[in-house]
């Protein structure tokens, strides 16, 4: 298109010199090369020695000895001869359509003019461009902001003129949907229309930018960009109940106008860079927005090639997401070979994979309150330091105030002797081959090859005469995974059935109680007679636990009675008890749970009278005491919340565990995990002018440090892509199209900016404002280009009056800029799926404006046959309060998305969606007509109208004010009144919800 424009611009219209315009490489020539040449003559493949990726390559001597381009000499340039050739056998491109005559002419003139070839616009240094001088512009009075001067200069260059401002109603409806994703209320409209001061627009904009709904609207855009959803997306499409804090983080960040650099850093490495800030940890939810292949990454065997492939693809998803989101770079094109068109090397791609070599996706615990986080961290550090203090008999442990506390504790301890008597095992066996070794404390340590299932049988004689209860302790041991208490890889155990017999006659166990029950795996299940259920302790592994059971009737025993315990652990998967210990009691019910049974060594110290203890013993005791005290204090802190995010610190999920250290990453030949090459070092790209991508890491095995280095590289003011990319995204959402039409591709095959200077000016403006996105939003929505009319015809008609120029002198832009790339009018936008839904709720009066919290399920969820639940949208109660929340709070199910929202072009949440497609189909019309949500909202709206206005005609007027933000015309009033009279008000509401006037914003 731009070529055609160039010619028209050069030969006609006012304000343009009669001289042939200067050809600009990236605006005029680059698009031709990208479309016709680069596939075979790009950076990677230079067929025939012809490379058109940069000037150096393009001017080089060819295999044939000729030159593709000789600056200033078109007749000597082989490229020109070949593209202009009439002979199909030598004409380029070899495949596909030849260049048009206009395109050939552009190339010819570009070579004539010296074949200037500036560095690629996206990679070059960012400098503030000069604002076009209004003195040179015919319509300068139209401009409101510097943005307008950039737009106007280009329009005038092309012989176009801008459109006059939209009327006030249109403007408020436009800017309210744009900034909030909601319609203005009739009252807001009235107030705005009544404000005839020059600051009216400004005031409305300030109000909207300060609204909390602003964050909801712009978070939803961001969620598209980063493919946010709340399930895994593969065959095991498991819901992620802890994904939503990231969504709330986004809303909060946009509302608070978090500086963009910080926003970038937090999402990539907030945990490493700002460890004290819980929001910064939640921000790393960004790294885990994408799909996750549970079958391959968790369920299948770890030693399979499929697991290896899945890890590689999972890292690719993170790398791709990070680089597309923040740098609009298509690094994933360098997975199998050097990027064909952009200067991204194969090795560099794997350097980025290495950054995430230790990053896993999972639920990470954190404290929402920074004070609690601080306290927890302090306690954890103090506890972690204890062994060393004890080892060194540190004087701090012997300090009088500590020893005093210990004395008081000892006194209390003496008064509360445990009622439990530990049994000494006499015989013990394991049916499936585990070894059991008796320990000095009466426990049995299991070892040997771990079978899938196991049954322990343990006998002992009774040291007391009356038994009222039994206790099973499952203790930790350094030899067990995660120190136990179970033998499963994750430290868990499952006790399916537990029985106790005295002289072979079974005792009836009741009132089971444990110090900790795994969710849905309680101690009661160990005595329920059902082999499928069991007691478990996950995720509280790494610490001892105990379960106690009362005897329904106390049993009196003789001296030689044999007590037999049977511990059935038949769940499978090696969920076995690592170190059991049994006790009995004659205490009265309720039986106590001894949470703090003392280690042998400490019991020994306590048996030594205080005065006789040496310092080593005192230090040990103090260390034990402080450990218990601080552990209790930790336990009393408010419970931690979980966030599903990317890090190396998350709760293990089956066999998917945090990596101990970043895994080695190899450069894969053709992207094939079976063909590993050299090991890649963590680093980023080097495609930006004067800004390298190498990392200087003190400790490369620190997973967080790798991400932190990348985060800093991304947020650096020298990373020009970061700043260009985000202002383009904002522009894109405000206007329906970016200054660069490919928001995720700023490379050579991406679109060329329509206004490169404006793009750079905005990027610099963002940087210099300290990264304030709201500053950019404000600049954009206060501009005349944003505020102009969207109506082509109307615009032209009014332009006659507005600019006082005769119609005959106006150029009709339809013929050569009908798609409005140069913004001679505003774009009309169709409401997106969320705005349609939210607007319907808003006008029906049903919108629940509650912010934040767990996502609302607008479907019935029932257990599926396996991991993936069944999801039923159709039978969901249309009046359920969950339906009344804003759409940004919908629970988004990857493989079972809401059909209504999909029909309205909600993107597939497994793909990064930089911009949405827009479709018109019969199924969409059916959804708007018949979807129960829409039908019910039209009924609710009818109720509201009846409540608010007594008369039918008033009701119709109100209907129009609410849905279209205007009064009905006389014809409309009578037509809708007639329809409502005949078929009811709800039918009239339904018609207006389906109208183009509702679905589109002028």
């Amino acid at each position: 298109m731009s070529i055609v424009l160039l010619f028209i611009a050069a030969t006609t219209a006012r304000g343009v010199a009669a001289e042939p315009a200067k050809v600009r490489f990236e605006r005029d020539v680059q698009p031709i090369f990208s479309a016709k040449c680069l596939t075979c003559h790009g950076a990677a493949e230079k067929r025939g020695g012809v490379g058109l990726s940069d000037r150096e390559a393009a001017l080089a001597e060819l295999h044939s000895g000729l030159y593709a381009i000789v600056p200033g000499k078109p007749e000597e340039s082989e490229l020109l001869r070949r593209v202009a050739s009439e002979d199909p056998s030598e004409r380029m491109p070899a495949k596909g359509e030849p260049l048009t005559a206009a395109e050939v002419a552009v190339v010819r003139r570009w070579i004539e003019q010296g074949a200037e070839w500036p560095p690629h616009w996206a990679y070059r240094l960012l400098e503030r461009p000069a604002i076009p001088d209004p003195a040179n512009l015919a319509y300068a009075e139209w401009a409101q902001t510097p943005i307008d001067l950039f737009i106007l200069a280009r329009l005038e260059e092309l012989g176009l003129q801008p459109s006059p401002p939209a009327d006030h109603r249109t403007f408020l409806r436009r800017v309210t949907f744009d900034l909030l994703g909601l319609p203005p209320t009739p009252e807001e409209m009235e107030a705005f229309l009544a404000d005839d001061s020059p600051q009216a627009h400004q005031r409305a904009i300030d109000r909207l930018l300060a609204s909390p709904h602003f964050g909801e609207r712009w978070a939803r855009h961001w969620m598209d960009v980063v493919h946010y959803a709340e399930t895994h997306g593969h065959d095991q499409d498991r819901p992620r109940p802890h994904a939503w804090p990231y969504r709330d983080y986004l809303i909060r960040s946009f509302n608070e106008d978090k500086p963009y650099g910080r926003f970038v850093e937090e999402q990539v490495a907030g945990d490493a860079l700002y460890p004290g800030d819980p929001q910064a940890i939640i921000a790393t939810g960004f790294l885990a927005t994408g799909p996750w292949d549970e079958s391959s990454l968790r369920d299948i065997r770890e030693d399979t090639i499929d697991r290896e492939i899945a890890r590689y693809l999972d890292r690719d998803d993170i790398v791709h997401t990070v680089m597309a989101t923040f740098n609009s770079a298509t690094v994933h094109c360098a997975r199998c070979h050097d990027h064909k068109f952009d200067p991204i090397a194969h090795e560099e791609y794997y350097g980025l994979q290495a950054v995430f070599a230790g990053t896993g996706k999972g639920n990470r615990p954190l404290d929402a309150d920074p004070q609690v986080a601080k306290r927890r961290k302090a306690l954890q550090e103090k506890i972690a330091a204890l062994p060393a203090l004890r080892e060194n008999v540190d004087p701090r442990l012997l300090a009088p105030e500590v020893q005093e506390e210990i004395a008081a504790w000892e006194a209390k301890l003496a008064n509360a002797a445990s009622p439990w008597v530990v049994l000494e095992p006499e015989t013990y066996s394991a049916e499936k081959g585990s070894t059991l070794t008796k320990q000095s404390d009466g426990s049995l340590l299991a070892g040997g090859e771990r079978p899938e299932t196991e049954i322990y049988t343990i006998t002992a004689s009774a040291p007391i005469e009356n038994i009222t209860g039994v206790r099973l302790e499952v203790l930790t041991d350094p030899s067990l995974p995660h120190q136990g208490p179970g033998r499963q890889d994750n430290g868990n155990l499952h006790l399916n059935e537990f029985t106790f017999a005295v002289n072979s006659s079974p005792a009836d166990l009741v009132n089971p109680k444990a110090d900790f029950d795994q969710q849905e795996w309680t101690a009661a299940m160990a005595i329920d007679g059902k082999p499928a259920t069991a007691w478990g302790v996950y995720p509280e592994v790494g610490k001892p636990h105990q379960a106690v059971f009362e005897l329904r009737e106390a049993i009196a025993v003789e001296g030689d009675a044999t007590l037999t315990f049977r511990l059935e652990q038949t769940h499978g998967g090696g969920h076995l008890i690592g170190r059991p210990r049994l006790s009995i009691t004659s205490a009265k019910a309720p039986l106590p749970l001894d949470v703090n049974s003392l280690p042998d060594e400490i019991a020994e110290v306590l048996r030594t009278p205080p005065r006789e203890r040496d310092n080593q013993q005192r230090a040990s005791l103090a260390a034990h005491y402080l450990h218990e005290k601080w552990t209790a204090e930790l336990a009393s802190l408010p419970p931690q919340q979980l966030v599903y995010c990317g890090s190396n610190d998350f709760q293990p999920d089956g066999s998917f565990r945090p990596a101990a250290a970043p895994r080695p990453i190899h450069i894969l030949h053709r992207g094939d995990v079976r063909q590993p090459g050299e090991e890649a070092q963590p680093g980023s790209l080097s495609f930006i002018d004067n800004f390298g991508g190498a990392f200087d890491l003190d400790n490369p095995s620190d997973e967080g440090a790798r991400r932190a280095a990348l985060a800093r590289w991304l947020s650096d003011s020298r990373n020009v892509l970061t700043w260009r990319s985000i202002v383009n995204r904002l522009w894109s959402y405000h206007f329906g199209r970016g200054l660069v039409d490919t928001p995720n591709d700023f490379g050579r095959m991406g679109a060329t900016p329509t206004h490169p200077d404006l793009l750079d000016w905005l990027a610099v403006e963002l940087l210099e404002s300290g990264g304030s996105l709201k500053h950019i939003h404000r600049l954009i929505v206060t501009s005349a280009v944003y505020q102009q009319s969207s109506n082509a015809e109307c615009g032209l008609r009014n332009a006659e009056l507005f600019f006082s120029i005769p119609h005959s002198a106006l150029r009709t832009p339809h013929s050569f800029d009908s798609d409005n790339r140069y913004l001679w009018r505003m774009n009309r936008t169709r409401l997106d799926a969320e705005s349609i839904r939210d607007a319907a709720l808003s006008v029906s009066g049903m919108l629940d404006r509650t912010m934040g919290g767990p996502s609302v399920k607008q479907f019935i969820q029932t257990p599926g046959v396996h991991v993936t639940p069944n999801v039923d949208y159709r039978n969901f109660d249309v009046d359920d309060p969950a339906n009344h929340r804003r759409s940004v709070y919908r629970f988004i199910f990857r493989t079972l998305p809401d059909p209504f929202m999909e029909t309205l072009d909600c993107p597939d949440a497994s793909q990064l969606a930089a911009k949405r497609n827009e479709s018109v189909t019969a199924l969409q019309a059916l959804a708007m007509l018949n979807n129960s949500f829409m039908v019910r909202q039209s009924e609710r709206l009818a109720e509201r109208l009846r409540n608010e206005r007594p008369e039918l005609l008033e009701q119709i007027e109100r209907l129009y004010e609410l849905v279209l933000n205007r009064q009905p015309t006389e014809t409309e009033l009578s037509a809708f009144a007639e329809h409502a009279g005949a078929y009811g008000l709800a039918n009239a509401c339904r018609v207006l919800f389906n109208s183009n006037a509702f679905m589109f914003v002028d």
């Binding site: 593969h234 199209r737 490379g747 396996h866 497609n917 019309a925 007509l929 039908v935």
Partner: protein, 473 residues
């Protein structure tokens, strides 16, 4: 790759620039103005003459055991019970067991002498119509990625499936039914659920429309909810007329915006679909004999048979691509026979065998095989050795697919697996080749049907794919 086709598409897309390019294309496509809409002189193809105008794909979800159905291996009988080292320490979910022969009886069938096991007695009767790909291979042994791979050509979610690409490439044959219809197993959706029918990054209008013939509302939102008593046929007629009136008035001063016109049309199409969809789904119009042929009279075949018969009616009425699924996600009620081949496989096989044979015969009888392609496939095969006592684990190494109908050489087999049916040995084909072949038959060059997404001209066949000439007529 920057072909005519692509550049015109980009042109049209940029014309609306995400602001109606699609709507415009939709309008132009319907009125025959779109340059790369099906070309009459190519029999509806885009790049070369088409043989096929419509497709029905039968997808057996879970991984059909090839050596127990179509891939006869005497070697397994000889070495039954032997432990053979395939250099594999672990299959997807288990440790390799001993070689297990097929527990079923095998016979040669048809003039072509194709071996078929006793689990498919009906399909055995139509082997002379079928072209077998005996050495299909998958890149993965895991259901989720494998199903994505067979449907979209990628291991990950978010890519358009074959039906969506075809819808994008060729558009609809008729206006009043969806272009791409999915008939899931009546018990539930397959692995990956609707992810298998996604339009990915293509416009949503290309994704599969799920039809559940026996559900109260077989197509989402085809009619108003039952409780909406205020919506009557009269109110509907008057309402649509009023809607058109307000839309026309709105459009008058905005006539340059083709999206508005397009939306007005879409309501007309919607009204047509409301009439034609129930008619297409009304199986009572079929004879008792037809019902019996498809197995609708017997509970074990009724569900799948109903979907097959519905598919035929859809194809007749202009649906471009119908995908029928056998098997739901999860550990059972599908082809994922991990624990007991002798017991599990015959059961699920019997549910599809007669209906599939009936569908192929019915299409032939009606002359529809002249321009219809039938594809029978699955996401991977199974292992020659046991899992547990008599089950088989996943095996992407080799599996069987067959084609029938327009443009396909009947009664042949291409490729073969090794003596154990462990790996593809000769004439190995992958989903890319199958997809390239299907597009080829539709008159589409698979390298030229592209969509630019995040910097890459994406294709159904990624960077792979060769048309399997050996099976072309």
């Amino acid at each position: 790759m920057a072909t005519t086709n692509h550049s015109r598409r980009s042109f049209l897309s940029s014309l609306g620039g995400g602001l109606g390019g699609i709507a415009l294309a939709h309008l132009l496509g319907r009125s025959g103005l779109l340059a790369d809409s099906p070309r009459a002189e190519l029999n509806g193809g885009l790049h070369h003459p088409a043989k096929v105008r419509r497709i029905v794909q039968l997808f057996m979800n879970g991984g059909v055991s090839q050596m127990d159905t179509f891939d006869y291996k005497p070697e397994l009988e000889k070495r039954h019970g032997e432990k053979i080292d395939f250099g594999l320490t672990a299959a997807a979910t288990s440790t390799p067991g001993a070689i297990m022969k097929s527990p079923f009886a095998w016979k040669q069938h048809g003039r072509c002498g194709r071996w078929v096991s006793s689990v498919f007695p009906h399909m055995a009767e139509i082997v002379d119509d079928l072209a077998f790909l005996m050495a299909m291979a998958s890149k993965t042994n895991v259901h989720g990625p494998a199903s994505y791979l067979q449907n979209t050509g990628f291991l990950l979610p978010g890519f358009p499936c074959m039906g969506a690409w075809i819808s994008y490439g060729l558009g609809s044959v008729s206006d009043d039914l969806p272009t791409f219809v999915v008939l899931p197993d009546s018990r539930g959706l397959p692995y990956n659920n609707a992810g298998n029918f996604s339009a990915g990054f293509l416009p949503m209008s290309h994704q599969g429309t799920i039809i559940k013939p026996t559900a109260p509302t077989p197509i989402n939102d085809l009619s108003p909810p039952d409780w909406a008593g205020h919506i009557t046929p009269e109110s509907e007629t008057a309402g649509l007329a009023l809607l058109e009136q307000v839309n026309r008035e709105h459009q008058e001063s905005r006539s340059d915006d083709l999206r508005l016109e397009s939306r007005i049309d879409s309501y007309e199409l919607a009204a047509k679909m409301q009439l034609s969809a129930p008619e297409a789904l009304d199986l009572s119009q079929e004879t008792t004999a037809t019902h019996r042929d498809y197995g609708l009279d017997r509970p074990e075949t009724a569900d799948f048979g109903r979907n097959c018969l519905t598919a035929r009616r859809m194809l007749e009425r202009g649906v471009r691509f119908v995908q029928i699924w056998s098997g739901m996600g999860g550990p059972s009620k599908n082809w994922d026979n991990h624990s007991d081949i002798p017991r599990e496989l015959p059961f699920i096989a019997a549910s599809v065998d007669q209906p599939i044979a009936a569908l192929v015969r019915d299409l032939r009888r009606r002359g529809m095989l002249e321009d219809t392609l039938v594809i029978w496939t699955t996401e991977f095969g199974r292992m020659p050795f046991t899992q547990g006592a008599t089950g088989r684990d996943h095996n992407g190494g080799t599996f069987v697919t067959w084609l029938a109908g327009a443009g396909v050489k009947p009664g042949i087999a291409h490729g073969q697996s090794d003596e154990f049916s462990y790996q593809a040995a000769e004439g190995k084909t992958e989903c890319y080749d199958l997809h390239a072949t299907v597009l080829h038959l539709l008159g589409i060059d698979h390298e030229r049907l592209t969509w630019r997404h995040n910097g890459i001209d994406r294709r159904l066949t990624d960077v792979h794919g060769h048309v399997i000439r050996q099976v072309l007529a």
